[in-house]
Symmetry: C2
Subunit: 212 residues, 2 copies
């Protein structure tokens, strides 16, 4: 049972990640393809065969590396959490007192999300589909809470508001606009080209907590 050598296997896959994807491990390529597919067509809507195809691997390799489809999702979500944590860590490293303030961390996270639009797409879906028992949003909220606490300790965040308030404010500010922008885009794009405004309308989202 002869089988052809697959020499250029890694070269025929879409660029799903940020690296050049040519010298990524099969495991990383599968994870990237999973992020791309889940963010684009949803978890239930993507067959494992589509992920294997995009990653340029055989379907069996997914189970070998991640155990199951759910295992792959867990790996994708852990990778997302890592990206958030890394963005905050970088912002801190660049700050004078090794603790960045709100603006610095917001900027770092915004930059990371801009570089990884698939993360935004994935989170948008997760927000809807993961209502029961799933935990990605909760994990990010916990991460945000640690960030808020460390900023409080560093004296760069006010302490006269509740911690919950601050976490909600931070997360909404970071994600809300990104979540809602597709609605604006789809509405604008539903008009004929000559009627569309030159610049897309921009959203402003604020959070107001009632007297506590």
């Amino acid at each position: 049972m002869d089988m052809p050598m697959n020499a250029e296997r890694k070269s025929r896959n879409a660029d799903a990640g940020e690296s050049s994807a040519i010298d990524l491990t099969s495991r990383a390529r599968i994870r990237n393809a999973g992020l791309h597919q889940f963010a684009t067509t949803g978890f239930a809507g993507t067959p494992l065969r589509a992920i294997a195809s995009e990653a340029g691997v055989a379907i069996g390799l997914i189970s070998h590396h991640f155990g199951s489809k759910d295992g792959l999702r867990a790996a994708v979500e852990s990778w997302i959490v890592d990206q958030f944590a890394a963005a905050i860590t970088e912002a801190d490293a660049a700050a004078p007192d090794s603790v960045a303030d709100t603006a610095g961390r917001d900027a770092a996270v915004a930059q990371m999300l801009k570089a990884n639009p698939l993360i935004v797409g994935y989170l948008r879906r997760e927000l809807l589909e993961g209502s029961a028992g799933r935990t990605l949003i909760a994990r990010l909220a916990r991460l945000s809470l640690q960030s808020v606490d460390s900023m409080r300790s560093g004296g760069v965040a006010s302490t006269d508001r509740s911690r919950v308030d601050q976490v909600v404010t931070v997360m909404i500010r970071q994600l809300g606009k990104l979540f809602l922008q597709p609605l604006v885009d789809q509405v604008v794009d539903s008009f004929s080209a000559d009627e569309r405004p030159a610049a897309k309308p921009e959203l402003t989202i604020t959070v107001r907590t009632p007297q506590n």
Copy 2:
């Protein structure tokens, strides 16, 4: 091949619609169940058998009435568009000059959405999943454009802004808060009960169009 009479078949289904669901036609019960399932578990995530079970019918009846799963989805979306149109029509009927103003129509739509939370859930998903070729958001935008135009003709809407601007503003105002509230809820709920604020934080969303 005797088969038992299913006398009380219609009584064992969840209340997905607004009517008492006891004297709805099979077609309507299937449509309601489809809306419920699609909004809750997503289009790809819901088997037709789940819809048939919730509606209390055999699986074959779905194909008979709607042709296919996609046909059912089309029917659900047309029904949603009808609800929006009906809300606007009612607001107009109650207005003095038979053309309600912005506030009146906003209130009518908000009331309709509050009475049909499944529509909100469905739209939230549609906004993400229907990026390619699908048209529900576009249809609602067109409906909103007709509304804006009629208000302009009736002299109850300003004409110094572009029509696109007005449509975007209306739709974001109607839907944006509803879309983003789950994020606030999940973040707040990720905290322990004793740390949660008494009242949920409230969102304010504004649209600003750059100089045109």
